[in-house]
Symmetry: C2
Subunit: 478 residues, 2 copies
């Protein structure tokens, strides 16, 4: 049994966490103290800690100790698989969105769970300042002329070089720099689809891309998604038999909003499908770098054999939205995308590209990510736990393995738009589920971002939301 002693230690520690002897946010005693307390070696305690880290219960910070992230008891189910929505429809987005966006801009003092965006406190402000200073020093007149339409060659090289992390093999020539991922997706769509064409995507899906699709006059078919495994390949095949499909748009890792991550097998199958059917697949892997597990997950492009997969991504979610640097690797459509990019805005601003290049090639980006990822994981677990505590029984939640958002199914009958209105009155913002579909579905769903630095105020806001939901349920009963 000696070899498994660390399991007993881990169990003991887990109990102490669940009974709140060591509540969430508290530091655990040092390795040394625990080894004395349990009369085992420091190595054994360390093994127990690693187990608890793997279970997501504690967070190890070198030198500064181990912090409790969450209790292991979480009695909340996953959201249900969304239903099939058949027929290609023109996108007519929920009329609530423009209003919400305006409120979002106007009330920046609200507690906002609306935007999938890093808290200001999580941005690498000093590294960015340094990189800008370096960029301004390195700036030559040549940098201030028109940048190449596909972007700074050194920056493209850096991005391409990083593709080995997701099992890709891009070269600098495969990459096109854009003003953010939304522009990348828009350019890819314009390269392969014309007004009136049909696009397939997972349901629920990010409203920003839905709006872009609307602006381009494209139709969509929504494929039912699942918070764990994403779309179903058989259904994808079937839809593509029933409709003349110009492209699929997917988010292979940590889908926004439902958090789904496609398995490697499914990614591989979709790449093969794209090739076989000659249907371009646009993979918006914008959250891939924000994985909570140790390894950077693959994406669909990782398995792209002959250029039918168009990968899009950006640094908006991992560095700073204000940078507006995204990119795509549009495979066989690269030349067309570059041409459209040139005709849209000639090129992306060279100064920002230089500054991002600095962040990447000095290692500042990777150092930032190493700190950011466990921090985001912790924030998500804290949010999960608070929702479990304060939302009514019957609430279901996604368990994403990365990214910034939770997808929450409220008990049937709860009206998320009404909840949103109540929340606004209470100076809280959430994203009602109807935004994430063209079908009117998800009336009892909300998306909440988990990227606010944790505070009493955040926890209270979640409690308030819970009370609002319970109020609504009471009223519905009467």
């Amino acid at each position: 049994m000696k070899g498994f002693q660390y399991l007993n230690i881990a169990d003991e520690l887990e109990k102490l966490i669940n009974t709140e002897v060591y509540p969430v946010g508290r530091k655990l005693p040092s390795l040394r103290l625990i080894s004395l307390r349990f009369q085992v070696s420091i190595g054994t305690v360390l093994k127990a800690f690693v187990l608890l880290i793997d279970k997501g219960l504690i967070l190890g910070k070198e030198r500064s100790g181990y912090v409790v992230l969450r209790k292991s008891v979480l009695n909340v189910d996953l959201p249900q698989r969304s239903k099939t929505i058949s027929g290609a429809t023109e996108v007519r987005l929920s009329p609530v969105l423009p209003q919400i966006s305006r409120e979002e801009q106007e009330h920046q003092s609200f507690v906002s769970f609306f935007n999938a965006v890093l808290d200001v406190g999580l941005l690498p402000l000093n590294a960015i300042r340094r990189s800008l200073q370096h960029a301004s020093r390195d700036l030559s007149g040549a940098h201030l002329l028109y940048e190449k339409a596909n972007g700074n060659p050194l920056l493209r090289q850096e991005i391409a070089g990083r593709s080995f992390r997701w099992k890709g093999a891009l070269s600098a020539e495969d990459v096109v720099i854009t003003n953010g991922a939304l522009e990348a997706v828009g350019l890819c769509l314009r390269a392969v689809a014309e007004k009136g064409d049909t696009i397939v995507l997972e349901s629920p899906f990010y409203y920003g891309i839905l709006q872009t699709i609307e602006a381009l006059g494209l139709k969509i078919v929504e494929l039912p998604g699942d918070t764990l495994s994403g779309i179903d390949l058989d259904q994808l095949e079937q839809v593509c038999e029933e409709h003349r499909v110009a492209a699929c748009v997917l988010i292979s890792n940590f889908n926004n909003p439902n958090g789904a991550m496609l398995s490697d097998q499914k990614k591989q199958d979709i790449a093969a499908f794209a090739r076989r059917k000659k249907i371009p697949v646009i993979d918006d892997d914008i959250y891939g770098d924000l994985h909570f597990d140790t390894e950077r997950p693959a994406n669909i492009k990782s398995y792209d054999a002959d250029g039918w997969v168009m990968l899009c991504s950006s640094f908006s979610k991992s560095v700073a939205p204000g940078y507006r640097i995204g990119w795509c690797a549009p495979g066989r459509f690269t030349e067309k995308v570059i041409r459209l990019k040139a005709l849209t805005n000639v090129a992306t601003a060279s100064v920002v590209q230089l500054s991002l290049l600095q962040l990447l090639n000095t290692g500042a980006y990777d150092r930032h990510l190493r700190k950011l990822r466990p921090e985001l994981h912790k924030l998500m677990l804290l949010t999960l736990q608070a929702i479990e505590q304060y939302f009514p029984v019957g609430t279901r939640m996604s368990r994403p393995k990365g990214g910034l958002v939770l997808w929450i199914e409220l008990p049937q009958g709860v009206d998320a738009v009404l909840l949103h209105q109540k929340a606004i009155a209470g100076h809280i913002q959430i994203a009602p589920g109807t935004l994430f579909s063209n079908s009117g579905a998800y009336t009892n769903y909300i998306r909440m971002s988990c990227s606010n630095l944790w505070s009493k105020r955040i926890e209270q806001a979640i409690q308030q939301l819970g009370n609002m939901i319970k109020d609504q349920m009471m009223k519905n009963k009467n």
Copy 2:
């Protein structure tokens, strides 16, 4: 006669310039020396100098003296008024353009008269560096979140405040910041026209916008233009009777390529026309700040009474192309343009906006412009003179009062695309006229940028071009 003595002095000096006693580029003797030589007061010499400056023959530099710009004899006619081109056509751009653009990118060591872009030596590099350093110092986390879709409020205020210079009265809310003027024009077009709609524009017209129109699937009608006065209003009216026109796109000041500037009366009439016919007019006033006369000219928006004029502009031609900061004031279509901007790339990078704001509100931009404008004027006059000297008799040239380019009509029978190919072989780049129309016209026209710092190499390249043209004419004869 005493009061008009300065006219005689001016005549005397003009003769000395034309007979090359004081050749182009040479400093004139000091005020003091000339007053001694002609036995008149320094004030009288100064009045003569002002006259010569007004005639564009000399350039006055405070403290550093007066330099000869050009001789007053310029025996070159203006290009002929372009012919009416009837019928709305889908844009199918000259197949030569993609090839030319690639060559342009690949051979940056060539002498290039191709791009309408400032010479690296004319960019305010140090001011830009300083502004970036300030921006990086002032940078807060909030700046790094998503910028408002319509742009930084302070920057919009600065731009709006400058509208009084062109007799406009914009407020910050009228302005939308974009990634350059081409994006601004594209967004304005998308706001008012759908695929298949017809756009009216002046012929010849900037190929970049022609390509954008092509990418949007729009048709065009080309109105004949004139290098002095631009389009004819009666013809505009007539075309709009014959076609259902979704919008007009014009460049009211220093049209690219033919240099035309609309008169204030015509600007006013076009604004009234837009209002009367309810046809949006997009005015791409991107060169307006590069006027050679003392006053900043008005544009069509100056006379816009109720929002049918959509003004576009940028700092690419006056500060640096790599900044990619443009803007538009889309009048009654502002909300739609902001929405399209948000769906295209969310917002323009905040850091670059901050840096440009610095340039504007510290006065660095205006100081730069005050130096830049006479410098560009001088370069244009030098180019005019060299072309007169080296190109064959029968060459005709525009005389723009601002901007960066000359529009040159070569003797009939000269093939500008062939000339372009010869020039490339001689490591020189020009823009053949066929790029500037969808009609196949302008086969014997070229556009040449005048924004290269003057050097022996530049002059020799113009001489080489002249010889190539003469060679072609000889071969044509045989």
